[in-house]
Amino acid sequence: MRKLLTGNSAAAWGARLAEVDYLPVFPITPQTEIIETLAEWVDRSELDARLTTLESEHSMVTAAGAAAATGVRVFTATSSQGLLYAMEMLYNLAGWRTPLVLVNVSRGLSAPITLEPDHNDVLAARDSGFLQLHCATCQEVLDGVLLGYRLAEDMRVRLPVLVNLDGFYLSFTREPVIIPTQDQVRAFLPPFDPGRNRFRGGEPVSQAVAVLGGGTYSYFRYQAHLAALEAKKVFQEISADFKTHFGRAFDAIETYRCEDADILFVMMGSFATKAREAVDRLRDDGRKVGLLRPRLLRPFPSQAFVRLLSGRAGVAVIDQNLSTGLGGVLYTELAAALYPLQRRPVLVSYVGGLGGRDITAGEFYAMVEEVRQAVTTGRVPPPRLLFTESEMQSVRGLQRIAGGKGRDA
């Protein structure tokens, strides 16, 4: 069935088709439509799941993990401040090795408080032990949830999975989405196997107990890390299997017009569709440019990046996030992955799209030009924070109003 769905609705469809058992929820913009959709399906008995509204995201994620530890398939969703409020428990759930899927609808973090997207929220969870899938289309959101369950529940992995989509740009954008049949999904995603995550009367088990000493602690932390690394291989198998079942690819890194490209954009999420459009225009102009878009961020697909970027001249890494005092997160991670190469492409770092700020076609063209010059001259410009003169004028105008001098402006 092909239907126009918002990104949020596609996420809800993913959970429905995964036949989840339990939905601990809490509202937050721009995620709320997901839980409203699921609540209605539960009320109409179209989805045989229990939905419980907790009093906070911290409690919501706790209930999610506790239910997964008891032995049911769990889905939950949040955004932004909610993800940060739950952060303590994200680390816990990964440590409990509870497989579940959490959808995050990205939104810039406070302060100043805002509603539109960037990736500082989801990247705050990058070290938590949750695996991360990043989506750019509504179809990918649905597919990512299904893939997420296969990945999380694989006995070689057993880690929670976060599926990310951008607030507003994807959460509220309607796109045609192919909704697979329940039988198709069942053939791809087997029924939930609780494995060792189970509480049953007569089978006592202690989960999440304390450890004493760094050796034991390190052992369990390394176990989770090694499982996350193993998840790279598992992801490849699962994405190949996904293509067999549904005819759609969900590779760790999407490549767009990269074959003969000497300069590549690297960026995540729905804003990458803007880069895609820019690539088409630049190609029309005879420029050999392309786009790499990681869908899999944790585990980080280092080897795939090395393979895809070896022999290229230059890369514009566009981060829709800002690690204050350092710069773009994806840039630093990519630089680390490429460092062992003898002949590395020139890497130029751009930060843009914060709080939903547009990245214009003109900016993409300028980035390519700047990277080309860096390649030619060997002089790499410092990281750029995208911000235009007219944006500065606009902020100055607001400041004059805030300062009570609006009339003078």
């Binding site: 601990p24 706790t62 008891t70 816990n92 049953r200 006592p204 202690s206 999440a208």
Partner: protein, 303 residues
Amino acid sequence: MSEQDVARTGKKRRQSPLGAGTPMCAGCGGLQALHQIYDLVGDKTVFVNAAGCMTLLSIYPFTPFPGSWLYTAMACAPAGAQGVRDALDVLLSKGRIRPEQDQLPVVLTGDGSAYGMGLSATSAAIDRGLDFLYICYDNEGYGNTGHQYSAATPTGARTATSRVDGYSGVKKDLFTIWSAHRPAYVATAIGTEPADLARKVKKALSLRGPRLLLVLAPCPTGWGFEPARMVEIGKLAVRTGIWPLKEYSDGIVRHTMVPSKRVAVEDYLHLQGRFRHLFVPVRNDDKLAALQLQVDDYWSHID
């Protein structure tokens, strides 16, 4: 095996279901109460724990619990119990477990979590009518970190963060806060009154919905007394009227042990290092009188 069997053989001592050899302090009033409670709730339970002294009961790979255990974090043990209960309900309704495989989620927290960080999660669990048992062992301070004052610390008690004049606040009335939510059952208790405690646990187990036990836990290390005096101090907490034993159900609060003649509060205070500054080097009559008045005032409103 009955008590009689034990007496006859004279060999096997009665084995408590909760194992021995835990890292709790000698003379821990909380552990004393937990033993009594566990005897009754049994091992078809999932103990959902928040950060506190008793987190150290289960240290990999050892546990004294013959039943199940899940450590969560300091603020959210009731939410963990919600997840366990909901998941068990799903498994039961979908026929993936048998009814005899069902278990009772039991939240186990100290006062630091119960009176403060975890109160929001507890309030919401009661709102939702969660079918669970909550046990708070109240040792009147953040015990596991060296006994700093918490919202459960009584007026005047010296703690690691009130070392000079003692705590200037008033012990929060958690019993009334919990009861105001109108859950199925709330009770105060103490391990040194085992008959009263046992009756309350049995009553709680006979009901469904949110059931909460607030258990005073005399704490040798935090309160400053010899472990051997724990029972004496616990009994004095009740006989002085400082720790009223009571229960709430169906909208009614009932006192379960009313001391016929209350012992003077200072008899309880002077046994504890945390109140020694009220007696030496100079006896502080004003503060002692104020503390006695707090207790007298409470009981003057009780029939």
